[in-house]
């Protein structure tokens, strides 16, 4: 290989390295800022490396032992839970590789209901979400109830309180004569079956007598 050719190869290598380097830096967000697995505290004595995982594993500390004073209801002061725990990612890096935000733990052990975090007044724009279907799709999944479910759980509470619009007592407002049966079949039997009480699907005769 002649010197010239060698030099050309070197230029190419340098260029490739630079491009790969820039791409790696540009494509990856700066991970060090948000929700670290460990926290590094600088002090005048010895610097301290705080490890989330060993504290939760070896000392059985929950997140709330250090974070969030739920008892004082952060709602007012704190913008909302979602401002930190973004909707794009339910990953909680502090929990380690693949650690997910766990709804069940939060509802069961910390006594939070969904609305403690969700459906909050947004002080930035001064509004609450206007359209239910901006978030709630036709069918729900593990984390987001479907449109109908969410209405039955969520919206109806306020409607009841203010006595305006569709309420529990008045299924007909929404589910017209024909639709009421559909509604019942789709919706109500689910709970009835789970509770093993009242009319269930397997027992058509319980309602639809000859």
């Amino acid at each position: 290989m002649s010197d010239k050719k060698k030099r050309k190869v070197a230029y190419v290598i340098a260029l490739v390295c630079l491009v790969v380097g820039i791409v790696c830096y540009a494509a990856l967000p700066d991970r060090s800022q948000q929700e670290p697995v460990r926290v590094y505290y600088e002090s005048t004595g010895e610097n301290v490396l705080f490890d989330h995982q060993s504290h939760s594993r070896d000392f059985q500390l929950g997140c709330l032992d250090c974070h969030h004073e739920i008892a004082q209801k952060e709602n007012g002061s704190h913008a909302s839970c979602v401002s930190c725990h973004t909707a794009e990612s339910s990953l909680v890096p502090a929990l380690g590789e693949g650690g997910l935000f766990d709804h069940e733990t939060h509802s069961q052990y910390y006594g939070l209901s969904c609305t403690d975090c969700h459906h909050m007044y947004d002080p930035e724009s001064g509004t609450s979400p206007q359209n239910c279907n901006a978030c709630h799709m036709e069918t729900g999944d593990d984390y987001m109830p479907g449109l109908a479910d969410s209405y039955h759980q969520q919206c109806i509470g306020c409607h009841q309180d203010f006595g305006v619009g569709p309420t529990m007592e008045n299924c007909n407002d929404c589910h017209g004569p024909r639709k009421r049966a559909d509604a019942f079949h789709d919706q109500c039997t689910g709970c009835h079956e789970a509770a093993k009480q009242g009319p269930v699907r397997d027992d058509c005769m319980g309602c639809h007598a000859y």
């Binding site: 030099r7 340098a14 790696c24 990856l28 460990r38």
Partner: protein
């Protein structure tokens, strides 16, 4: 009676065996690959970013310096790439881009080119750059601080910090196999002990690095760490730990053996390496710094010209008072 065989050479013309500066550099680069790949697998894309930026920017600085000093462009000899690669291997996987670029600037320009380029530098350029950055931005080179976002299946604290703070007890959670297999935090290419050893043995066997330096460096670490350990096993970790943590291996095989800053004669090489190892352990066990390898290498670079005066006696010498 002098050994006459030593003086026997064949008749001219002599043959060139084809080996050159660039061959040597590329072999050394190849020898780092095991450790580099292990680092990339452990730390993923950010580590790739650091390494490629480091290699690329080192070559760019070399090129710019060639232009500025109006000398032939020398990036094809692979030395700049090797400097960049070794420097990148010492850094934590999450290092800001400008730290990498300033580091290679210091390594290539201040460490090497202002002394006239390859072969002229009195200090190892990589060690110079790392030391200067350590003075300027210690927080970015602190492995504990830099790697907070990584989740590992082993304790994530830098072993040398634990040793420094808690003595030998601090690293009870690790075994020597952990260190050997790279199950410890540290520089991108400095943690996988086995890979570094394999690469080092390859280089020594092929004669690309002088085994005397590498072996005596490691022996220096081993013996001095053993002394400390025997004196107080509670406070000072065992020699094996010292050999496999921090920059010990990468320092012994790749930094201390750098050509122009290390001696060429047999006994000086042994002294040079052994002194480096002893200083490393002294700085680690008695000094305020966490790792001593970089400073130890700079110090032995400094004494290199003096100890290299110890050389074989010439067989025929001029008699002044005959």
């Amino acid at each position: 009676m002098p050994d006459r065989k030593k003086l026997t050479v064949s008749y001219a013309p002599f043959w060139h065996d084809g080996s050159s500066i660039s061959t040597k550099q590329y072999h050394i680069i190849a020898a780092t690959m095991l450790a580099v790949i292990a680092g990339l697998l452990r730390y993923g894309a950010p580590a790739l970013g650091v390494l490629s930026l480091s290699v690329g920017s080192a070559m760019v600085w070399e090129y710019l310096m060639n232009l500025a000093t109006r000398r032939p462009v020398s990036i094809a000899d692979g030395n700049a790439a090797l400097i960049g690669l070794l420097f990148g291997m010492l850094l934590p996987a999450v290092t800001p881009w400008w730290v990498v670029i300033v580091g290679t600037l210091v390594a290539v320009v201040i460490g090497k080119q202002i002394y006239g380029g390859i072969g002229g530098n009195p200090f190892n350029p990589v060690a110079v750059a790392y030391a200067i950055l350590m003075i300027s931005w210690p927080i970015y080179l602190d492995f504990n601080a830099a790697l907070v976002n990584y989740s590992f299946d082993f304790p994530a604290a830098y072993p040398l910090v634990l040793m420094n703070a808690y003595g030998a007890g601090g690293i009870e959670a690790f075994s020597l196999t952990d260190f050997l297999m790279g199950r410890q935090t540290g520089g991108i290419g400095a943690t996988f002990g086995l890979g570094l050893i394999v690469g080092g043995i390859y280089l020594m066997a092929r004669g690309f690095i002088r085994w005397e330096i590498a072996v005596s460096f490691l022996a220096g670490i081993f013996v001095s760490a053993l002394c400390f350990n025997l004196y107080d096993p509670e406070a000072f970790a065992s020699p094996g730990v010292h050999l496999l943590t921090g920059f010990s291996l990468i320092g012994a095989f790749f930094l201390a053996t750098e050509d122009s800053s290390s001696p060429v004669n047999f006994i000086p090489m042994l002294i040079y390496g052994a002194l480096g190892g002893v200083l490393t352990v002294l700085i680690r066990n008695q000094g305020a710094h966490v790792d001593g390898v970089i400073y130890a290498i700079l110090i032995i670079n400094l004494i290199n010209p003096i100890i290299d005066k110890i050389r074989p006696k010439a067989t025929g010498r001029v008699m002044y008072h005959a």
